[in-house]
């Protein structure tokens, strides 16, 4: 029963990891940019949800659409005004420094605006656990997992079926060919970044009801996103889902079997091992830059 409980907890956490990572994965796949400020965008989503909940009592899950809109606009502007400039002026590698600088600025701003204290959001349906066959399900966590899965499915359908999705996939496959077919690549990059930021914000809102959070957590969420992407594979929601669920299982499994201090070390060991053995991830195509 304990093992089953561990697996159930791992899956809930994994759904959240997957949603937090999917945007990071999309940017990495389409532009080759590693966005070190991704975790900061997740935290912005969490703080926006917290703020709305404090001010108006809106449930964080209902606050997701407006948060996604705000972050989409922010993400679009961020890419067009800053990241594209940096990539043009020097190299893809320096985008690491730019996004890291932005992450520092955002973290500091969040501390100034919301204070460095731990925050958490407790919706009305919190704290009424359901027991099914000896395994305890917290309704908050079930809602979080369901919301994560719905959003991931929505993104997958957008990418697969809509015109925007098709253009984004085309640019990811071959930028030059896509441009020759009349795609405005810069606009597509901005859109991709906007979508990525929107999903980061949504995962932040969900994160708020599951875990307590504070501004320095952004670094952790960026790293989580990276591990998820490396595990699952670049650029696809399915890869992010697989990677996220695996990471959730690994981290709850490690703290259950080896010790509560070791999930991070285990996570990085797996990260390095995956980079070496199968840099394309479990699902996903080999990508040129790795070797």
């Amino acid at each position: 029963v304990l093992a089953l409980q561990t697996i159930a907890d791992g899956l809930v956490l994994g759904g959240l990891y997957a949603l937090a990572a999917v945007g990071f994965s999309l940017i990495f796949g389409v532009m080759g940019v590693v966005n070190l400020s991704h975790g900061a965008l997740v935290m912005i989503g969490a703080y926006l949800a917290w703020f709305l909940w404090q001010m108006t009592g809106i449930d964080p899950l209902l606050a997701i659409p407006p948060i996604m809109v705000v972050l989409f606009v922010t993400g679009y502007a961020y890419q067009r005004l800053l990241i594209q400039l940096a990539v043009d002026r020097s190299s893809l590698l320096t985008s690491l420094l730019v996004t890291f600088g932005v992450a520092l600025m955002l973290r500091n701003t969040l501390v100034l605006v919301f204070s460095p204290d731990l925050r958490s959001i407790t919706p009305a349906y919190a704290g009424r656990p359901l027991a099914v066959g000896g395994i305890v399900f917290d309704p908050v966590r079930v809602a979080a997992l369901a919301a994560s899965l719905v959003l991931l499915w929505a993104l997958a359908s957008v990418l697969r079926r809509t015109r925007v999705g098709r253009v984004i996939r085309a640019t990811a496959q071959h930028e030059l060919a896509a441009r020759l077919c009349g795609v405005n690549a810069l606009h597509v990059y901005g859109m991709t970044f906007g979508v990525s930021a929107a999903f980061a914000g949504a995962s932040g809102a969900i994160l708020g009801i599951v875990l307590p959070f504070s501004p320095p957590d952004e670094a952790l969420w960026t790293l989580n996103a990276f591990v998820v992407v490396v595990l699952g594979g670049i650029g696809s929601p399915a890869g992010a889902l697989l990677g996220g669920l695996l990471l959730g299982l690994i981290s709850t499994g490690t703290s259950h079997l080896i010790g509560p201090a070791f999930p991070n070390a285990m996570m990085f060991l797996i990260l390095v091992a995956m980079l070496l053995l199968r840099p394309a991830g479990l699902l996903g195509n080999a990508f040129a830059g790795s070797r």
């Binding site: 002026r89 690491l96 420094l97 932005v102």
Partner: protein, 318 residues
Amino acid sequence: MIAAAIRQYRHWILATLLLLVVLAFLPFLVAPFYVRVAQLVLLSAALALAWTLLGGFAGYWSFGHTAFIGLGAFAAGLFETNLMRGAPLSGLGAGLVVGSALCAVVAALVAWPILRLRGIYFAVAMLGVAQVLAELNNNIDAFNLSLGLVLPRIAAFGLRPEAVFYYLLLIATFLTLLIAFAVKTSRTGYGLVALREDEDTARMLGVPTERFKIAMFILSAAITGAIGVIYAHSLGYITTGSVYRTDFSLNMIVYNLLGGMGTLVGPLIGSLVMVVLTQVVLGRLLSIHMLITGALLVLLVLLAPNGLVGIWQRRSAQ
């Protein structure tokens, strides 16, 4: 080759020696606070130079070089507190050897798998290595390192402690500069330039890229480890958090970028400007320190992608 290089760069060498003479008298001329700042500049410069052996020359940007600071610091600390009690100065000497040797061994072990990765993947794998080592350092009970380690006090020639570490770091920076100069002007140095510009072509033309980059990785790690040992002693008491610091790894890159990637003057100028700016000018603005550092990083990449040396070169070319 070295003789020709010395003739070619004789103005630079003369300037360096003059600067060294001036710096040797600095602790007697300025207030202790500024000796502290100078010590920090030298620490940063030495680290940035050690990093550039691999990152600047070979183009392999490590995002986890703080692994070697931590490894060197704790290896030397354990060695000195357990085996060399009562002889702090010779202990420091032995600690330097032990620390850098362990870093060289660890670098040699991880070099072969990790240096097969390129670009962002290498950068992130090194970040992972640093994190794993830090976590292990904190969580393996055999050495009880999570409580931290108190190192023997170093005192010499009746100097104030900040002056002692100032001189140690001055020597370390100068030696690292010498090593970097020797590498850059050697056959290996030219091979590394070829490797950085296009690794596959260099390999095709007969440059032993694998051997060169592994050698640079080990050399860079050993020097970083030795600097880590000195840094640990200057702190006196070390914990995982105070030597395995991600901001060290990032700062090594920032100093190089600000000064000029792949040059020898670059890391020196970069650390001078950045340390003076963040410690002296922004020292009083603690609550928005990160905000300003982040903004500086962004501006730096946008305005001076080739560093201050790059601006100067463009000026003199016109």
